[in-house]
Symmetry: D2
Subunit: 345 residues, 4 copies
């Protein structure tokens, strides 16, 4: 049994981490922190967890965390993470950071879309925690940059094909749709029930900060700079993310090669479910799970490949993938704590 | 490990049984049946369960079930259950029936609201499976009449107080609200998204068949015939049931006695969570769980006791309670298979 | 054509007033105010109204309003209204106030539940704007206390029967359910989509400030002090309010008298729709309208009368009723501006 | 005043026609038909309309319709329309058909995706009722093929630019999202609340029959055959359609030309609202209206044009546009019956 701390435990990703870690067979949840709710019992904030979490939130994080944990999950806003990570690493912790602060290799790309980086040397050390792609590096990492939800949902269907050069990465259009929990727990106009219900809309068109994250990964994979078109939309539902990805096939490539490539790449990857031909994924089928379900079809009219993926944005898109990373780092079973039977509806 | 069969596995209660039994540490799910989907792989019907259930639905139930199971869950419509239960019992199965067919002690009450009973002698044998009330009888039962969802949500807050004569059961008004999954999987106008969304309404006012079920239990408890007022309503949500129960206090009874009675009665009952004063239950906090959360207040104006309870209608209101009954029948831990950490949202 | 001002035009009740007044045949919307959005074009706040409202919000209200309007709607929080109303009345305006500040006759009741009253002499002058009950007084009123949403939905089914002494008002239990727009436009945890979706719960049990408002009206009607039990609940939908009201029949009263009383009382009241026996109202059927649909049944078990009413909380529960009051005050057709054909879904 | 008939009045498009025609200043709704509900009062099916429609549904349509109407709206399934339209035209009616039967010029395209055409000569006579494009032809038409909802939402943003050769129509990708009412009133698994709620998914990928309809119109406009990629998705909401359209700019074209072209084309078109730069449309803002709101941006990364449009699929996507066509055919004001003030939420 190792001891885990969740820093920023009252946001939605933090709460989902608490849920998963409470049920994890190899982990004791030892510390939870929250600036806003310091001193408050956790189940006063999330009454669903009454009887499962008997911890109060701590306020001043670093010292207590370092003494009482073997692994630390940082579920903080961008910038707050990079202020805290170096100290934790120095104290010998292994760190899984859910912000964008350690996702980039290219410092310039990070700084162009976020802010000056306070510990850029760690960008060389950190591993991009997309487990299905970088599992080996994750296993020995001290610091994980846990992927964004949109990048996870776009890269998982696309990366095997880009690596195998079956598609032209410069033609990628990713039309993505997210449930409202992706906007976080803060009460804003954008998350008011009456503004979300019966509403569907795009947001941050042409300017969402997950764009450079996806582009860096695709570029690394393709061995050349890749720009994409990415449009996120908001769906009136709590959890779930659906990405429809359009990409041109490389010359001469057909359905058979696509299927073969994906099946071979995702063989024995426990959280990827490839759908049979003619079936398309549904966010409802992965709700509350760490699965990414993937379907695709070659458009008869245009010859383009259309790929669809679904994840639960809070699980495979955040907390679940973070725990999957921890499992690999500590040589636990990859599915430990993440293997609950999905709800049929 | 025992073997369990689910007869009627493709309805919502059946699907929830499949989910729970798949994750149960002491059970192997050995047989699932469905007249409508005979021969179909289960995960073609519920794709969420892809990778967890590798069974096809069987069509002709009785013979296959008897050979391959130690316990049988009947998730069938009323009437279909009583046609099947006697044969299974004769073959030595233990049976948990989720229909109304074995919930009543009073045959006349059953027949007045349902139909002529085909095996009324079993009404003396069957045990009403409200585990918190009848746990001992359940343990040795061969046949369980698993309670209805509304009766479960109304009786759990009320029964301890009726038993202790702290309230006057003849004054009970139960105003209950259910999510749409309570209406079952069948596609009807009443379950069409566009008729449910942005809609709130009462239904079957003064005529719902859960009324006599509640009344029989209250009468047994009070030692005298009790009639109640019960109005069910439909809420635009998938899962969840909320009951607001109004009842007059017995003379001289105050808040302290109410709390003491409930705390004493539900001490160490793992699925009952009593809320502190001033907190009211929320269906969201029990979604996907076998919990019943209970809150209450004495109305300052009228002096009436107002009790509120929430359950997940498919879990504590159906499949979860059925498994809880099985756990007691086979001397498993009461929470086995039912102890997953709740989702924070 | 008269000129109307809406003070507090960016809250939900204010926005609904703007919508209705824009389409009113006898009114020009001349002034809209909003402290928070002073200087902002209205359709930047409510883009749906692009092309219909070409006004900017004014900030400092009183002077501009008095110069440019014949009638003023105050859609302000409690307390803000009573600071503003006297000046407007002095300037010759007729005022419809949507707060609680002028709803009470009994100053003590108001002050016990709200705050000290700054202009209590106006409580004798103001008329409680439940048009179906007080239509004549409304016609000549200078100041209307527009009823609360819950009181409207509870009083409309009940008042005719209380007046006719067909029911015992001391036995009233009102179990009410509201859509989220009733909580207003402010972004709070309680209105966050993820806390509302798939959630049903009671709130302010035994302490909601609409209780004394209902009680005062019932007491006036019954000629004796009446206390009731009232529990409000929150429904995951935007608009709509459903009240289920339980009350004991007076001795010897039967269904026929109930129907006759209601039909006679609501004969030619354009916004009340009495449902035929066996039909129960649905919030979906009054969405966006000024209707109150009413159904009822005598509970066969207990003999209690169960009444159900539905309104759109923002229309008949707020802005629509306010305009209906204005129509009566200015001798317009009662349905003017309120007669649009309802949406079938 | 003319007399209008709605054939197939109980489906969702039919019901929306009934709503609009009931409130139309120049029309009397004289006949409504429904095979399924012949003899039933309309407001028993749609209780919201109680007090507004006092007609019973007729069963056998043709004869009664011809005697009692000047214009006939056919809100029937494909195939049923083409069986009925010729007789109505022969009897001197003007016909607006909401099915696909008269939308195509190219008989082969129709037959490849639907069925053999029973009266293909009418394809030369009928006018594609996209009013903003074909308004003049509509004015003198006897038979209108009312556009599909998806084609309306895709063509309105795109057509002016294709006509002006500012974009390359062979690069169009239309990622579209529809509310559930688009699936019609029939109760199916796909429309069951519990399958839609918290679900987002694509459907009929690469095979939806609105593809050839869009392609024919784009081809006519471009003067050359155009194939597109079109993926429809289902959103958990009742009304609304959102299309995100990706298209490559013609060489040298910039934002200014795009804006100028759209503004010029849609100048004084009463139902098109072009959003200012940086604003994106939201289905909530057009709910219940005949508006199409359009926003766009040039993607900084790829240089592609991204256009977004929203409509209410039952209004501008069906019944509203049908009435707009009728208005043009009978020289009524184009907005007659369609000009209600939108709801702010």
């Amino acid at each position: 049994m190792i001891r885990a701390a969740v820093v920023g435990a009252t946001g939605y990703a933090g709460a989902e981490l608490v849920r998963i870690l409470c049920g994890h067979p190899d982990v004791t949840l030892s510390v939870i922190t929250s600036r806003q709710y310091a001193g408050t019992p956790y189940d006063a904030i999330y009454p669903a967890l009454n009887g499962f979490v008997n911890l109060d939130c701590l306020g001043s994080a670093a010292a207590d965390v370092a003494k009482n944990a073997d692994v630390v999950f940082l579920a903080l806003p961008h910038k707050a993470s990079m202020a805290m990570a170096p100290g934790l690493l120095d104290a010998g912790m292994r760190v899984v950071d859910l912000s964008a602060d350690f996702r980039f290799k290219n410092r310039d790309a990070y700084e162009a879309h976020y802010q000056p980086h306070a510990c850029a040397h760690l960008l060389d050390v950190s591993v991009y925690g997309l487990c299905e792609l970088y599992g080996e590096a994750v296993a020995s990492a001290e610091l994980i940059g846990n992927p964004g939800c949109y990048p996870t949902s776009v890269l998982l269907p696309l990366m095997p094909l880009v690596k195998a050069k079956l598609v032209d990465p410069t033609t990628v259009i990713a039309d993505c749709k997210s449930g409202v929990s992706g906007a976080g727990r803060e009460a804003t106009h954008a998350t008011h029930f009456c503004h979300v219900n019966e509403s569907f809309k795009a947001y941050k068109v042409g300017g969402h900060r997950h764009t450079p994250e996806i582009e860096e990964q695709l570029s690394l994979c393709a061995g050349a700079p890749v720009r994409i078109t990415f449009v996120p939309h908001l769906v009136p539902m709590t959890r779930g993310m659906h990405s429809t990805v359009y990409v041109s096939l490389a010359s001469g490539v057909g359905t058979g090669q696509i299927r073969q490539c994906l099946e071979s790449f995702y063989h024995q990857k426990p959280f990827i479910r490839l759908l049979p031909a003619g079936r398309f994924p549904d966010t409802l089928h992965v709700k509350g799970t760490n699965f990414c379900d993937i379907g695709w079809v070659v458009d008869p009219g245009s010859g383009r490949l259309i790929m669809m993926s679904v994840i639960d944005n809070l699980v495979k898109g955040a907390a679940g993938q973070a725990v999957q990373n921890m499992n690999l780092m500590f040589d636990f079973q990859e599915t430990a704590g993440l293997g609950g039977v999905p709800y049929p509806l």
